[in-house]
Symmetry: C2
DNA sequence: CGGACAAACTTCCCTAGACCAGTAGGGTAG
DNA sequence: CTACCCTACTGGTCTAGGGAAGTTTGTCCG
């Protein structure tokens, strides 16, 4: 029962991370099973010759990763994998769309009069002027996403041409239109292509589609932009892992 | 410029949380804009009369929430809302399905011979015996999800009757079939109802559907169960928020 | 036998420093 | 003018404790 991996003080991996990894590995190896109590903080301090703060931080990492749960006054317990803890990350999709071989082609960019739906989303009056931008996202020569977006029209801040460039994707994902935005709300749902979308993407109307809707607000909590990405659903799925992944996981 | 909210030592909210909240509010209020540098740790220590560790913890929370980003040697900076940081949580859906007014009705539970697809998913030979369970999840009297699941058949561990009870949903989401599972992989994709699914749910075949597929592994990294939830897509969407939500957010 | 209480645990949060490492700016030697 | 280095400032990590608060257990007393 000798601790094979105590703590390597010369490693680049800081002690708290080594400790967190070690505990994780022991759980993955079955040394601690779901429901079991981990050694107390004091015991871990002694066993690994680190200070309480270091132990607390290591445990904190595991708590955040939903691997263990702490109960005040009772102890720290190993959690079974929880379906409810699952969350699907948009990061991979966004990084893919922001990659160099994906380009955005502007189909249309003009000032239009807000229809009822746009007016409601942007909290403006119907008929007010808004900027309409329609983009096609292509990977190589193949269209993968259709993007339609409406921005509130502010005469004081004329439409920046740079935002319309094909390189705007970068900003679109990292800092969306300058940095005057406070927060955004995203909604993912499944739908079917409309006529317009289908023709632009070269698909049949009614084909299964993902719709990712985004609504961004400025620092006065007023809607600033509203738009949606539409793409074929059968080419994209979201995958995630709960619990402690096996050895070859990580993509 | 007097700090109105220093730190209330008598509050139930611990200082690190008060500090994190205060900084968050200042960002939300526009005092610090995206790209701005926050006061340094030392300055925050002095301004709020707390120790460095407390400041670090507060900042750590904000980093984790993707509100700020720290750069070693340079400072801590406010992040604009990032699309790539978005993740869709299954928690709400799971809590909804686990609520008391949702019940699971067993349609079928028997031992079958593994077909090619099941055999591949469970890493077994085709023709081996597996347990097949089909459930209907009802809210009130209305079916909302169809659940099909295959478990490896282990004669040593006979099928627990409790797992088949209509109350099994609880376990299904929190600890899935005892606690012998190490991790699970979940995949979400959009699809259309098959004949079987449609008839069970009282829908038309071809209707848009969500499919949530789950594959659980035991502590030897062997697949233990594989199954999928299928439900109407037009009644369910996933919503999330990036950046700092406005005042009335939080559902 | 039963209930109150105290001790011994546990986690939680904090202090007040220390040293290391990365960055930026200014001054100096070439 | 350029290249270099030195210094001040930044976050990153850790130490070695402390007191507060929740839980469990066992003991003592009625």
């Amino acid at each position: 029962m000798k601790d094979r991996p105590p703590i390597d003080r010369d490693s680049f991996e800081p002690p708290y991370a080594q400790l967190a990894r070690t505990i994780r590995e022991r759980i993955a190896g079955g040394a601690y099973r779901p429901g079991d109590r981990l050694p107390s903080e004091a015991e871990l301090c002694a066993a690994f010759s680190v200070s309480p703060m270091t132990v607390r931080r290591a445990i904190g990492e595991l708590v955040r990763a939903d691997v263990v749960v702490t109960e005040h006054g009772r102890g720290t317990f190993v959690k079974p994998p929880q379906l409810a803890a699952a969350s699907f990350d948009l990061g991979d999709l966004m990084r893919y769309l922001a990659s160099p071989d994906v380009e955005a082609r502007i189909l249309e960019a003009r000032i239009v009069s807000a229809g009822p739906r746009v007016a409601e989303k942007l909290a403006r009056e119907e008929g007010e002027r808004v900027i309409s931008i329609k983009r096609l996202l292509l990977r190589g020569d193949e269209p993968v996403f259709y993007h339609s977006e409406y921005l509130v029209f502010d005469p004081a801040r004329p439409l920046v041409e740079a935002e319309l460039a094909t390189t705007a994707l970068q900003d679109l994902f990292s800092g969306a239109h300058g940095s005057d935005l406070k927060f955004g709300r995203l909604t993912l749902h499944a739908s079917a292509f409309t006529e317009t979308e289908a023709s632009q993407l070269g698909e049949q109307p009614g084909t299964l589609a993902w719709v990712l809707e985004h609504l961004f607000f400025d620092f006065d909590d007023r809607p600033e932009s509203w738009g949606r990405f539409v793409g074929r659903a059968d080419r994209l799925s979201f995958t995630t892992t709960v619990g402690i992944p096996g050895p070859q996981e990580g993509v």
